[in-house]
């Protein structure tokens, strides 16, 4: 049997397959379709210090090989997560990672500090790349200085594994990646969605309520793969690759580009069993290719 385990900082994952924040609910929504414990872990939806209603409907537009969304971080806030959701997840034998977002540096830090108290959450993913909120979100993730300020503040209050999720909506993603690494990020996940737009030519209006939204799905995969490849060469911390991954073959390409782990996002909407299929597919590919450890292929490009 090949060894699928990977390490993200101090966090050991049983395999490299995670699910992306905002595409997997709190995991329990997918329990009828797959064994959550078969995954390396899952990243629960974006959580903020205070509850957020998100943006108005319509929040979604289908696009060629993908979709745009402008959900805008709808969630009931960190206290709701801690009291209502966490107890349902704390006995799972898989890594439950919380995606943390905010409007100000102080909010990010306060939310992260609260999550740090949860024994069975071994890591957070810091979302400095949401394109759908007015304040904070991507505003922090598009400059090295902004990224550094949030990561430094959270690093001070968050002792466990800190993953920073990067935006692709930048000129040079490696510059942001190096800034996050310098301030103590244990790992970088990329890419968040690409800023896009759709127009209804009959109503002569944007399809989405806030005009623009984040593009995800196979449409963005080549962009994501290129950015993972560039970033893996620019930093020493492990990279978690995501962007349109639908199959084991896609996942292996990201690992060859330098990713230590990967996330399944929009593909969860097409087939809720995808993440489990990818775990199985990676295992089969390794066996059929005589690969015993993912270290043998990681970053081979």
């Amino acid at each position: 049997m090949p060894d699928l385990h990977v390490n993200i900082g101090a966090l050991r994952l049983k395999n490299p397959v995670l699910t992306a924040s905002g595409t997997f609910g709190y995991g329990t929504e997918f329990a009828p379709f797959l064994d959550l414990e078969a995954l390396g872990g899952f990243i629960v939806k974006g959580t903020t210090l205070h509850p957020r209603e998100g943006n108005d409907y319509p929040r979604m537009a289908e696009t060629p090989s993908g979709m745009l969304n402008c959900v805008g971080l709808q969630n009931k806030g960190v206290e709701h997560f801690c009291s209502e959701i966490y107890p349902t997840l704390s006995n799972l034998d898989t890594a439950v990672i919380v995606n943390v977002s905010g409007s100000t540096v102080e909010d990010y830090a306060a939310c992260a500090a609260r999550i740090a108290e949860l024994e069975h959450v071994p890591a957070i993913e810091l979302n400095i790349s949401c394109p759908n909120v007015q304040a904070g979100g991507m505003a922090f993730g598009v400059t090295a200085r902004g990224a550094a300020s949030v990561v430094a503040a959270v690093r001070k209050v968050y002792p466990k594994t800190l993953i920073v999720k990067l935006s692709p909506n930048v000129t040079d993603i490696t510059e942001i990646a190096r800034a996050a690494e310098a301030e103590g990020a244990d790992s970088l996940s990329l890419i968040n969605t690409l800023l896009g737009m759709a127009i209804d030519i009959e109503s002569r209006k944007p399809v989405l309520s806030i005009a623009t939204g984040g593009l995800s799905g196979p449409a963005v995969r080549p962009v994501a793969l290129r950015m993972v490849w560039q970033t893996a060469k620019a930093v020493k911390v492990p990279i978690i690759g995501l962007g349109g991954i639908c199959s084991a073959e896609d996942a292996i390409a990201f690992i060859m580009a330098g990713a230590t782990a990967i996330q399944i996002g929009t593909a969860n909407f097409i087939d809720p069993r995808t993440a489990a299929h990818v775990v199985q597919g990676i295992n089969e590919w390794m066996q059929s290719h005589g690969v015993n450890s993912l270290d043998e292929i990681r970053g081979c490009i």
Binding site: G22, G54, Y57
Partner: protein, 252 residues
């Protein structure tokens, strides 16, 4: 019944109009479904269709058959309207919160417009079986838009409205005389302005009313939060908190 991914066999596909198909699906292991629930259908061989298509359950029998009523409005539904017998369809089901049944049998009014009549047949059958007296009002722009009239007539009283007067009462569903009678409960599915007008009548008479929404969806599982509707308790997902809502909860 737990949600599942199922491969359903296409038994039959009939065109009711050039743009509406009645599709009969079968499975030996068809999950138990309730009226008002829907399937999220993976459209085969349609490269321009990326997401599944949520389609409400039109008719359902415990022998493993389930029917869909599909309106050809785009690439995905166009392909579904071209399915052939023995094709298989990859479906997530059963999804969504069903219509609620009255605690005691009574007089119920089911109001549908266009392809929105789809879930009302399954619902009407369930209500009739529970002893309710079922009245339907089916609306369309013209007579050709009134779908499955004979099937509804086998379940209850049927009133028609058309905007051009080609069948039934001229005007909107709310113009039909049957709308003015007292009911214990009203159910509606169709274009939003129509459902809002029906809900208004229900509220004026203090009649409990449920509406089935068709907000655009991606996952159908409550994960993506794309299909939200504003309610008295904030944004709620049409796919899991709905598609059926008590109209008093909606901020219409």
């Amino acid at each position: 019944m737990s949600k599942t991914v199922a491969q359903l066999l296409v038994r039959e596909r009939t065109m009711l109009t050039p743009h509406h198909a009645l599709i009969t699906l079968f499975s030996d292991t068809m999950p138990v479904c309730s009226a008002g629930q829907f399937l999220n259908v993976l459209v085969p061989d349609s490269p321009r269709t990326f997401l599944r298509r949520p389609i409400s359950i039109h008719d359902y029998a415990p022998d493993g058959t389930l029917r869909l009523l599909v309106h050809d409005v785009g690439d995905g539904t166009h392909r579904l309207c071209r399915l052939q017998p023995d094709d298989t369809l990859d479906c997530l089901l059963p999804l969504g919160r069903p219509f609620s049944m009255p605690a005691t049998p009574g007089d119920v009014l089911l109001v549908g417009g266009g392809v929105g009549v789809a879930p009302l047949l399954f619902l009407g059958k369930e209500l009739a079986r529970s002893g309710c007296a079922v009245t339907f009002i089916l609306g369309g722009k013209t007579e050709a838009d009134i779908l499955r009239r004979e099937a509804f007539e086998q379940v209850g009283r049927v009133g028609l409205t058309t905007e051009d007067g080609s069948a039934g009462t001229r005007g909107f569903v709310t113009h039909h005389p049957a709308m003015c009678q007292p009911y214990d409960r009203i159910y509606t599915c169709g274009p939003k302005p129509m459902m809002q007008a029906v809900a208004k009548v229900a509220h004026q008479t203090g009649t409990p009313c449920e509406a089935s929404l068709e907000n655009m969806m991606a996952c159908g599982l409550g994960a993506c939060l794309c299909c939200v509707e504003k309610t008295t308790s904030g944004n709620r997902c049409a796919c899991t908190d709905g598609p059926v809502f008590d109209t008093k909860e909606l901020l219409w």
